[in-house]
């Protein structure tokens, strides 16, 4: 294919300057699209601590309405799923996915000794550590470490943002963060950076500066690689003009190419609804629902829905009782959405939270999020979950 050859030459000419030859380019030489079955994980982070009880609503539970006289979602408005659970009215796309058998809901996900500060709890979710430990690498970063030990594949994981999350930082390997494939490093000094890179004589990692040059080389070659791939089969579907909508469109375009990316990471928020929760959550959910609807439809239309798993999470849920400002305060356990055409467990995967059994007004977790990670790593990404999570966690059955 002509386009591939041109692309190979261009990336190759940049990469020759470094000691890193992008092996991944060779792997796909002469092939067309990614073979079906090439599994992709999309993480959707709901930043700020989404209120899970107003997301998957126990709409037949009196305690719920008693604790939330102002904030409880009216029975008649809830998008009913089962006799006891329904979705927030703004999550209509999620209801469609549920009806379609492509949505799984995991309730009561959390971890022992929960922390109620955003940054700390987010750290715990990102690193996959226990709450008493401070790890400086993320679980997806360590996935990169494990998957491509000593190889040059920073594009295995991509974050749709300008800065990289802890989750995506490994010991050796780090993912690439980019908002727009067109300008991964959009800067007036771009040519200078490339030439600086080319003139560097590497001493096989002997000098401290070699690490910076390695990162620079990876950035430059990844930027061009991602850009080329994004043009290969760009999505033609309509997406909402929101940030999340556009990010998911970029992800879809990359999934339709033969890029080597296995993990995409995107954030949406802020769900920190201490005040005026109703309005804020309504707006964020509407955006999320519209974007996810376009995304999943696009994947289906292009025959890739079975190969994609979307997983949502938030650093914590919120307290069962509403507060005095029309909002909710930081809580603990929360639900996660799992979306894909290939789920082994669908609908409500486990029981709704027990509102009669609280820990000082907070939900008790029933599933450790590390079990979810282990399952995704092992069963979806075919990775060594024990090496990555540094411990054995039992697998769940949703994939």
């Amino acid at each position: 294919m002509v386009i591939k050859r041109r692309e190979f030459l261009q990336v190759g000419s940049l990469a020759t300057a470094s000691f890193l030859v992008p092996k991944f380019l060779k792997a796909f030489e002469g092939k067309n699209m990614v073979p079906l079955g090439n599994k992709v994980l999309v993480i959707l982070q709901m930043s700020g601590g989404n209120d899970g009880l107003n997301t998957v609503i126990p709409y037949r539970n009196d305690i719920y309405y008693k604790e939330r006289p102002r904030l409880g979602i009216e029975k008649s408005k809830v998008l009913s799923l089962t006799d006891e659970a329904g979705l927030h009215p703004a999550l209509s796309a999620f209801k469609e996915l549920y009806d379609d058998g492509s949505l799984g809901i995991m309730n009561g996900v959390g971890y022992p000794n929960p922390d109620r500060s955003h940054f700390r709890s987010m750290d715990i979710w990102h690193s996959g550590s226990d709450s008493k430990d401070y790890w400086t690498t993320g679980w997806l970063g360590r996935y990169l470490d494990a998957q491509c030990h000593g190889c040059d594949k920073p594009t295995y994981a991509l974050e749709l943002d300008d800065t990289l999350s802890l989750a995506m930082k490994g010991e050796e390997a780090k993912a690439i963060a980019m908002k727009d494939p067109k300008r991964l490093f959009g800067t007036a000094n771009q040519r200078f950076f490339k030439e600086v890179m080319q003139q560097h004589k590497d001493e096989l990692g002997e000098q401290p500066v070699d690490y910076l040059y390695k990162t620079l080389a990876e950035t430059v070659s990844s930027a061009d690689y991602i850009f080329e791939k994004s043009k290969f089969h760009p999505s033609k579907a309509e997406y909402p003009k929101t940030e999340l909508g556009q990010n998911l469109k970029t992800i879809a375009s990359l999934i339709f190419s033969d890029i080597n990316t296995k993990v995409y990471y995107v954030s949406h928020g802020s769900f920190d609804t201490h005040i005026n929760q109703q309005m804020q959550q309504q707006r964020l959910f509407t955006e999320m629902s519209d974007a996810v609807r376009s995304f999943t439809k696009d994947l289906k239309d292009n025959g890739r829905f079975d190969d994609v798993l979307v997983m949502t999470f938030s650093e914590f849920g919120r307290r069962v009782s509403q507060n005095a400002s029309g909002g909710t305060d930081h809580g603990t356990a929360n639900n996660m959405f799992l979306i894909g055409g290939n789920l082994k467990e669908k609908g409500l995967i486990n029981a709704m939270p027990d509102l009669t059994d609280l820990d000082e007004g907070d939900l008790k977790y029933k599933v450790d999020f590390k079990n979810v990670y282990a399952t995704v790593l092992k069963n979806w990404l075919a990775a060594d979950d024990m090496a990555i999570l540094k411990k054995k966690y039992d697998y769940l059955k949703f994939v």
Partner: protein, 486 residues
């Protein structure tokens, strides 16, 4: 050898301070590193001035705390008042941040402030009360080169730390072990040198340690557990101070602190022999930090080639270092908080109680690209098209409100709008002829063994005049991977 002197002195300035200043350019090749260190010590010997930037509204409120009953005052506050207090605190902490960063750039007491910067990461603490933050900052700046023992006791009794580590909730009938755990794991012994039982027992000793709303330490005796505790093989009815002293009596504490200091000031690669020599002397001196730093900075091995240019500058070191060499006025101060945020190091907002991990963790593709763009951003050639991540802890659900919050991801102005005062810098290179100019600039700016090729830099300079040549070459040299190291 003047060149060797210069490199060594620049090394000392980068490690014992925030980089060489333009005012020092002429002196750096002249003096020996021992002479320079003496001068640094002298400049840092004075007691630092308390930094007070708290907003007047908060000060009024603060002054009134005693008159009105404490709890009452709090209850009386309306929702709006509470919000205002939070917002004023945030703004004041932002001023504190920018203020301290300016101290790093401008102070003669480089050694003291660099040391305080180290302790700021060691005694890492997030707290949204500006008075508490100012109090803790004063503790570490005053004791930065003094006795680690004094500092540990003072920090442990600071309102900022007691609050952050939940010791306010540590009561006899309901112990909270957070403070006791972190004191051992992160402030003194390091992991693996105590048992879970030691934590339980130490927590009992710290029960009743609290602070009032003014930030003064209070011992609440009715919440204190006066019973016997067995801690690190000693038994007695210890209180918190005694537990801290037992921790200090362990040589492991000296070793742990020395290791951390060695990593921060000398090299990411620990040299066991040197650390153990330093730690012994630190322990024998009953934790005299000034002496420990003198041991390091006057040793020959500190100036070994393998230690020079081997550390990745932290974002704060990078930002302060550029400004020390190129004095500048920043019309858009926001830019400095934005850059801290986007590069991953915001003063007064450490990622967690373990502080900033440092080293290679500073570098990923996006942070490296942004770092290399800073000189161009300062020069207004490039514009911000980068967004930092939001911080929900700081924004408290106000993402869409515009209240001048430093935690907001987007820089309000797309450019830094810096006015660099080039005069002194340029005049230093007056007598150097054009052929040697890039080499000379590079020696001043880069600490790495090998640099960027002079020919390459030459292609990117503005050669219309000697001044423009110096200016543009300097900014390009600062835009290299080499400049990220010190």
């Amino acid at each position: 050898m003047s060149l060797a002197n210069q490199v060594k002195n620049q090394h000392l300035m980068w490690r014992a301070g925030f980089g060489p200043a333009v005012e020092q350019l002429a002196d750096l090749p002249q003096f020996s590193h021992k002479e320079l260190y003496k001068a640094l010590q002298k400049a840092s010997s004075k007691k630092p001035e308390y930094i007070d930037v708290a907003d007047d509204f908060l000060k009024g409120l603060f002054a009134g705390i005693d008159e009105v009953g404490r709890q009452e005052r709090r209850k009386e506050m309306t929702e709006d008042e509470r919000k205002k207090v939070q917002q004023k605190n945030r703004e004041s902490i932002k001023s504190l941040n920018l203020n301290w960063l300016r101290v790093f750039v401008n102070t003669d007491a480089q050694l003291r402030e660099k040391m305080a910067f180290f302790w700021h990461g060691h005694f890492a603490c997030r707290n949204l009360n500006v008075f508490y933050q100012q109090g803790l900052l004063d503790v570490i700046r005053r004791n930065a080169l003094g006795s680690f023992r004094d500092m540990l006791h003072e920090v442990s009794k600071s309102a900022a730390m007691l609050n952050f580590l939940n010791n306010q909730q540590n009561r006899k009938d309901h112990p909270n072990e957070n403070f006791a755990r972190e004191v051992m794991e992160l402030f003194t012994l390091g992991r693996g040198n105590y048992t879970e039982n030691d934590i339980k027992e130490a927590a009992r000793a710290f029960t009743g340690w609290s602070a009032d709303l003014k930030g003064q330490f209070v011992f609440r005796r009715f919440q204190h557990d006066f019973g016997n505790k067995t801690f690190l093989d000693k038994t007695g009815n210890f209180d918190g101070d005694e537990v801290l002293d037992i921790l200090l009596s362990q040589k492991q504490t000296a070793k742990y602190i020395t290791q951390k200091i060695y990593k921060f000031f000398v090299s990411d690669t620990i040299d066991d022999e040197k650390v153990s020599w330093l730690a012994n002397r630190f322990f024998e001196s009953t934790y005299d930090i000034g002496k420990l730093m003198e041991d390091i900075f006057t040793s020959d091995w500190f100036y070994d080639e393998k230690n020079i240019g081997s550390k990745i500058k932290s974002p704060i070191e990078l930002l302060a270092g550029i400004q020390r060499m190129l004095p500048m006025e920043l019309a858009n101060q926001e830019a400095m908080t934005f850059l801290q945020r986007a590069l991953g190091q915001i003063l007064f907002y450490p990622p967690n109680v373990a502080g900033w991990p440092g080293g290679k963790t500073w570098i990923d593709s996006s942070s490296l690209m942004l770092r290399m763009r800073i000189p161009q951003l300062i020069n207004d050639v490039d514009e911000f098209n980068v967004k930092a991540k939001d911080d929900d802890d700081q924004m408290m659900g106000r993402k869409n409100q515009d209240d001048g919050d430093m935690m907001k991801g987007i820089a309000k102005r797309s450019v830094i709008r810096a006015t660099i005062d080039w005069k002194q810098y340029i005049s230093h290179f007056d007598k150097i002829n054009k052929d040697q100019l890039i080499g000379s600039l590079a020696t001043n700016l880069l600490q790495t063994k090998t640099g960027v090729s002079n020919d390459l830099i030459k292609q990117y300079v503005d050669a219309t005049s000697k001044e423009s040549f110096i200016r543009s070459a300097t900014l390009q040299l600062m835009s290299t991977p080499e400049y990220q190291l010190c």
